[in-house]
């Protein structure tokens, strides 16, 4: 994995070939790459073993190359269902937390109002509280209210822990907005709704997107809170957890690899787009 990224260092290497009086080893670079290698080790393992042809139920020693698991990626019906649940919950979370968080971020970034300090405190608490505490508190309340946990309680929980992240992302953008642009729109006769729709919203959109994607990522990855409030409903992380006892099928490596590839593509597109804009 890391070998392909080595190319990014070329300009620095060119500089190194110019004569210098004293050559000092750049230990920081070695250190950074060593830590990155550590970070990538289990991911590389996961990707390589998605092509493995294991003899038994345990996919831990290399037996031979196969593409079988990619052809059979969707062989487990309950795994597909778990993946489907994960994606739909993440999408719902993205939209609901995105909308609520945007409004909250807008209010926090632009207005002074009574209870602003309290709002900040609650957001800080919701972000820094450990997931076990959030999950346990929600489950306690659902139990006492006799609410059956399942799909919708999971959505509720995910929106709850994602809202603050979206709000912070949007607030950061609202603070840097130039108010004179909105004033100009109003001077040109736009009402407040038109101003919002044609001026404020488009300017905030990158931050709303970023916040929404963050909510999506947090939701699809969540295990701890979900394990408390999901009842009989299984999501992708929960399915993997449940499968560890009987042995994880290589399909999980395939899906992990595919998710990783999607993330990689999105990140690269994002960087290229940012370079082009700059």
């Amino acid at each position: 994995m890391s070998a392909t990224f080595e190319t990014t260092d070329r300009p620095v290497e060119r500089k190194r070939s110019t004569p210098r009086i004293r050559r000092r080893t750049d230990w920081g670079r070695w250190y950074t790459w060593a830590v990155l290698a550590w970070l990538f080790a289990p991911i590389a393992f996961m990707i390589v073993f998605s092509f493995n042809d294991p003899a038994g139920r345990h996919n831990i020693t290399w037996q031979g190359f196969t593409l079988r698991w990619y052809a059979d990626a969707f062989a487990y019906r309950d795994l597909n269902e778990a993946m489907y649940n994960s994606v739909t919950i993440a999408l719902l979370t993205m939209f609901v937390a995105g909308a609520l968080g945007t409004l909250l971020g807008l209010a926090l970034g632009r207005y002074d109002f009574r209870g602003k300090q309290l709002t900040n405190l609650v957001m800080f608490a919701a972000i820094s509280a450990p997931e076990v505490v959030l999950g346990a508190a929600l489950l306690s309340t659902f139990l006492m209210m006799n609410v059956t946990t399942g799909y919708w309680t999971t959505v509720i929980a995910h929106v709850m822990f994602c809202v603050s992240f979206v709000a912070i992302t949007v607030r950061a953008r609202v603070i840097t907005l130039d108010p004179s642009l909105e004033e100009a729109a109003r001077d040109l006769g736009a009402g407040s709704w038109t101003t919002f729709r044609l001026v404020t919203f488009p300017m905030l959109f990158p931050a709303i997107m970023a916040g929404g994607l963050l909510a999506f990522a947090l939701s699809i990855d969540d295990y701890i809170i979900t394990s408390f409030v999901s009842g009989d409903v299984t999501t992708f992380p929960l399915w993997i957890w449940g499968a560890t006892r009987v042995g994880i099928p290589p399909q999980v490596n395939v899906m992990g690899t595919l998710l990783f590839a999607v993330g990689l593509v999105m990140a690269v597109v994002n960087i290229v787009a940012a370079r082009r804009r700059a």
Partner: protein, 285 residues
């Protein structure tokens, strides 16, 4: 806008309702549950049974201490690995700063549970990493990494490293490089420049990083369950088992409160010791 004063309240209302209903009230609900007595069959009655807390601490003090110890160790590992990395990317990363940050975050596109389980397979007793070393006779046959305390601590550090690197990077990146130059002009060598100029500036970042790693690592149970086997259980494992397996809700809720209380005491004493009053600002901006 006829009534501009109302606008912020209208904007805040939906999110506030959600956070109040599903975060603030549930914390109160859990407090109430932690003071009940009963069991699943007979139901739980509110008896303001403070004994649940005594019971919980008496039974699980070992797991509580172990969690704080593992969380602390993982946080130190994160500082040791993350600070030099953040420093190097911020000052020497040049045009590739974003690329390095992306590389740092890329492994986290794979789900948390899958990443941790991947470590488990990677480190298994006769797996890819240990198997060949044992075949070559470099390691004794009985050598194991899994189900040990270091495996859990390193797993925790692995999963939360970016939460340490990013805040430190953010403060170092914003730092005025002239400050360092000025210290050199005043005959500070590299070590003095670091300890007297760079380190103090970066402390708020370290502070935020410590909060963002210590809290989730000491309350985590996934790493302990996947990498630690049965002898390294943390308080998170106890909470999970009591809630989801034993259905012993009053005890489960009281342990959760004990954990919350300890973390809060930790955060406040830490904030006072470091003299950082703007904990929240660093953390939420």
């Amino acid at each position: 806008m006829r009534n501009r004063k109302l606008t912020p309240y209208v904007l805040v209302l939906p999110a506030w309702t959600w956070l109040a209903l599903f975060f603030v009230i549930p914390i109160g609900g859990m407090l109430s549950l932690s003071l009940t007595t009963g069991n699943v069959i007979t139901g739980f009655q509110q008896t303001f049974e403070v004994g649940n807390y005594v019971n919980a601490i008496g039974t699980y003090w070992e797991q509580i201490l172990r969690s704080l110890f593992y969380g602390g160790c993982a946080t130190l590992v994160c500082i040791a690995l993350g600070y030099p990395m953040a420093y190097w990317i911020a000052f020497k990363g040049g045009a590739y700063k974003t690329t390095y940050l992306l590389l740092l975050l890329l492994p986290f596109f794979v789900s948390f549970v899958l990443r941790t389980i991947s470590w488990r397979f990677f480190l298994s007793d006769n797996g890819v990493a240990l198997g060949p070393l044992k075949d070559l006779g470099l390691l004794p046959e009985g050598f194991a990494v899994l189900n040990t305390a270091p495996a859990v601590i390193l797993g925790l550090a692995y999963n939360f490293l970016p939460f340490m690197v990013l805040p430190i990077y953010a403060v170092l990146e914003r730092m005025d490089p002239h400050l360092v130059e000025a210290s050199h002009d005043l005959y500070a060598n590299r070590f003095r420049a670091f300890f007297h100029v760079i380190l103090p500036v970066s402390l708020p970042g370290v502070f935020a990083g410590v909060l963002m790693t210590f809290i989730p690592t000491s309350a985590d149970y996934v790493n302990a369950a996947v990498l630690g086997g049965t002898d390294n259980t943390m308080i998170g494992n106890v909470i999970r088992t009591q809630y989801l397996v034993n259905n012993n809700y009053p005890i489960a809720a009281s342990i959760t409160f004990v954990l919350m209380g300890l973390l809060l005491i930790g955060i406040f004493s830490y904030a006072r010791a470091l003299g950082t009053e703007r904990v929240m600002e660093v953390h939420t901006s």
